[in-house]
């Protein structure tokens, strides 16, 4: 039986069929093997399944090197476009494994703004209710004077727990689809290696440490650097929150924390880092080639980056104005942003790192096992 015919058109409804058509061409060529682990991983899979394509798409760091090197990109009749194909497949991944199945919204900006405003109004009401009308007059710099401690924990904690549960479920569903055995998820050493590769963005090196060919046709380090700003900034703000909790519950020191304290310093650096990183990535993305991604992913990237900018800017502002009368108002805006962010995080580009890290982990498992020809 003939396996499949090569057509010049994209596969239409059947994304897998067209992805397989393109990747079979890649597997007959293999020139890109030196760029990133996607191509050696493809070589280990000569009979592609939908799970394989999902894995490869999430292992892809979207650096575009392969596209620039490929002699079969459109308008060549083979029409090979791995960055776009993988972007399509990653969108499908988020759709398929995040519960409830919701497509990454093409334009959820308006809905998000409405949600934030609504949440801010609710917060104002709650704050006034709980403090019997005093909440917005105080400016001692303590968030608990505005929103009572227990209430704050519930308001922020509930969506956070929801997001974590949804993402954990997605991890299990993704892993079963791409790899099968849940037991394989527990290799400590492989995790160390995978997290190391993820945190250093090792696979955005362009193969010769020149960086990605992004956003134009020249290899540069900019994207990797800005992405590091965002990632490390995010981790620092996460650490800031954890250290604040530690100060409060273990050291019994309540906020506001002094300027020279772990929560404030890490939070400030992390916030600035994210704003700088997001701004850099937004500028690069505007110059990048739209034909190498999908409209859905293009918008998802922009809205996610903008959301991070707003979230971090409001957070930084809260810190800078905490001794002024506007503190309660800005705090409420920031908290509304945080609550909405946690609630919708699973349905935004935020989740990309979850599947990316899983794919890197799977790649580590594959490459440390003795290679057997498929």
């Amino acid at each position: 039986m003939i396996a499949h015919s090569v057509t010049t058109k994209r596969g239409g409804q059947d994304g897998f069929r067209d992805a397989k058509r393109q990747l079979d061409i890649c597997n007959s060529c293999r020139y890109c093997a030196g760029y990133c682990p996607v191509w050696p991983a493809l070589e280990r899979r000569t009979d592609l399944t939908p799970g394989d394509v999902t894995h490869l798409a999430n292992l892809c760091h979207d650096c575009r090197d392969c596209y620039l090197a490929c002699m079969y990109t459109p308008p060549h009749e083979f029409g090979v476009n791995p960055p776009q194909t993988f972007a399509e497949e990653r969108t499908a991944t988020y759709h398929r494994f995040i519960w409830p199945a919701a497509r990454i919204r093409q334009s959820a900006v308006l809905a998000t703004v409405i949600a934030v405003v609504a949440m801010a109004v609710i917060l104002v009401g709650l704050a006034l209710l709980v403090t019997r009308g005093n909440a917005l007059g105080t400016s001692d710099g303590s968030p608990y004077s505005v929103i009572q401690h227990g209430l704050l924990i519930v308001l922020v904690g509930a969506p956070a727990v929801y997001a974590v549960v949804v993402i954990l479920a997605a991890i299990l569903r993704y892993w079963r689809f791409t790899s099968g055995s849940v037991r394989e998820l527990f290799h400590g050493q492989a995790w160390m290696s995978a997290i190391g590769q993820a945190v250093t963005l090792k696979h955005q090196s362009g193969g010769a440490e020149q960086g990605c060919t992004y956003p134009d046709d020249r290899p540069r380090q900019q994207r990797r650097v800005f992405h590091e700003f965002v990632m490390l900034g995010f981790l620092l703000t996460f650490f800031s929150t954890a250290s604040a909790a530690f100060s409060q519950y273990v050291m019994s020191a309540l906020p506001p924390y002094p300027v020279v304290s772990v929560p404030v310093i890490t939070g400030t650096i992390g916030g600035i880092g994210q704003v700088v990183g997001c701004a850099g990535l937004l500028l690069l993305k505007r110059r990048s080639e739209r034909g190498q991604t999908t409209p859905v992913m293009w918008r998802a990237d922009f809205s996610f980056l903008w959301a991070l900018v707003v979230l971090n800017l409001t957070g930084l502002l809260v810190l800078f104005v905490r001794d002024t009368p506007v503190f309660p108002w800005l705090l409420i805006v920031h908290l509304a942003c945080v609550i909405v962010t946690f609630s919708v995080a699973p349905y935004t580009k935020f989740v990309h790192f979850v599947f990316r890290v899983l794919a890197i982990y799977q790649n580590v498992l594959e490459t440390r096992a003795p290679v057997s020809p498929a």
């Binding site: 597997n27 020139y31 890109c32 093997a33 050696p40 620039l68 090197a69 990109t73 060549h76």
Partner: protein, 473 residues
């Protein structure tokens, strides 16, 4: 309408104009620029398809010591010379071939200095890892790097520019006629480097030497390789070099496009199975050598068969030992079944395979070793010298094959300074050649993987430098 750019380009007297946009052209342009020349490079194609055949290449065969980061061992000049003499009828011009081998040694360093990057050998090509150095991302990526370096060095590049004629005053080229952006222009340069490739995409030209068989050839590179610049030079009195029927060709999937299929359509199952012609008969020792040292013979083997078509057949014992064909495979429970799908006589195919199997060794399976010449042979007619397993384990697989021509060898004759020679009298004063258009000075009939890029790089460097230094006042 002529754009302002073109009137400027046409009004200048360039030090060097390079015709072509592939490896040899860019190496020529960069080398001329390194000598301080004002260089214009004119490429027939647009930006996306620039680079001619070079965009489909992936490695270069150069002499190197055992300290090369990208190779698995040393490759001496004597060994490369021996390999070169072992293919076809050996080098056409021994002196120029020796010069190429010797000069190849410094090519990788030059490439790196001009933006080229390398990578470890690709899976499925590990047997080339010692002799050949692989480009990071392949030939198009290398060419992209060269174009970036050219731009940074101040070399002027014009795309979608076709040379229509040369003007000569005795031995001196005085003008270059081109078509671009719908207009005709006359360009002037002190020196011209011609690096415009062979004539493999010109089916009518191939037909002169091959007859109607040429109609069934696939051309692995772009259709712009029609040899028009070569024709211009020959018409102007350039001495031809190389076999007119000489070309580098491989077996490609018969389902692949007529032009520009590149690497993805080639087939490398041949040593592990059998090849039948349209009469369902074997015609050549499939196990003579492992590809890619001898893969070049299969293009010609198939070109010489009736209707220029053949069929690779293998069984489940060897499935997975070679790169998967991009168009998939025909498969079935018996040889006859697969043959039927391929459109050849099922009974004859089954008979041919059974006859072959009868001649395989009883201990073939035990001695079979795909990683090297295993000497497991079959005394069939024709024999199979290596990897001669019986083809008897279902499911069976097959694909149709055609000759896929990479490039033609006949070009212009050059001297050791890459100067194009005339049929009568001395060389042209100011015309140099590099790459496939002069590969016939070196290659006669066979081919060594990666040696085309070595010729392009070595001769691009010579031609670019000589052109820049020629008649300099």
């Amino acid at each position: 309408m002529t754009s302002p750019g073109w009137s400027q380009v046409a009004s200048r007297l360039w030090d060097v104009i390079v015709i072509g946009g592939g490896n040899a052209a860019l190496v020529s342009a960069l080398s001329a620029r390194d000598e301080g020349a004002e260089v214009l490079l004119i490429e027939r194609s647009d930006v996306i398809f620039r680079g001619g055949n070079s965009r489909h290449t992936r490695n270069i065969r150069c002499v190197h010591g055992d300290d090369s980061e990208w190779n698995t061992g040393a490759y001496t000049g004597e060994e490369l010379w021996k390999d070169l003499c072992g293919i076809g009828t050996g080098p056409s011009n021994e002196a120029l071939a020796r010069l190429t081998v010797e000069a190849s040694q410094s090519a990788p360093e030059w490439m790196y200095a001009h933006g080229g990057r390398f990578q470890p050998p690709l899976a499925g090509t590990l047997h080339l890892g010692r002799t050949n150095t692989f480009f990071l991302g392949g030939g198009k990526a290398l060419i992209n790097s060269y174009y970036r370096s050219a731009e940074a060095a101040g070399i002027h590049v014009r795309y979608e520019t076709k040379v229509t004629g040369f003007e000569f005053d005795q031995n001196r080229c005085t003008g270059l006629l081109v078509e671009a952006e719908g207009g005709a222009h006359r360009l002037q340069a002190k020196n011209i480097v011609v690096a415009a490739g062979g004539f493999e995409a010109n089916i009518e030209w191939l037909r002169r030497y091959w007859g109607d068989a040429a109609l069934n050839y696939h051309i692995r590179g772009p259709r712009t390789n029609d040899g028009s610049v070569l024709a211009n030079l020959l018409e102007a009195g350039a001495h031809s070099a190389g076999e007119e029927r000489g070309f580098h060709s491989v077996a490609v999937d018969a389902r692949s496009p007529k032009y520009d299929g590149g690497i993805a359509t080639r087939v490398d199952s041949i040593p592990m199975g059998l090849v039948l012609n349209k009469n369902a008969e074997r015609f050549y020792d499939e196990g003579e050598d492992i590809w890619p040292k001898r893969y070049a013979i299969w293009g010609k083997n198939i070109a010489l068969q009736p209707d220029q078509i053949a069929y690779a057949i293998w069984d489940s014992q060897v499935q997975g030992m070679f790169l998967p064909p991009m168009y998939g495979t025909f498969s079935g429970p018996s040889v006859a079944d697969v043959a039927g799908q391929l459109g050849i006589d099922p009974d004859q195919a089954a008979t041919t395979v059974a006859e072959f199997n009868r001649h395989t060794a009883p201990d073939a399976r035990a001695r079979f070793d795909p990683s090297g010449y295993d000497g497991v042979s079959a005394a069939s007619q024709p024999p199979k010298s290596n990897w001669a397993l019986p083809v008897d384990t279902a499911p069976f697989y097959g694909i149709p094959l055609r000759p896929g021509i990479t490039f033609t060898y006949m070009g212009v004759q050059v001297d050791s300074q890459a100067r194009v020679q005339r049929v009568d009298g001395p060389a042209f004063d100011n015309v140099f050649a590099a790459g496939e258009i002069m590969s016939g000075n070196i290659l006669s009939t066979g081919y060594l993987a990666g040696f085309g890029m070595a010729i392009g790089t070595v001769w691009g460097r010579i031609a670019g430098k000589e052109a820049a230094l020629n008649d300099r006042t």
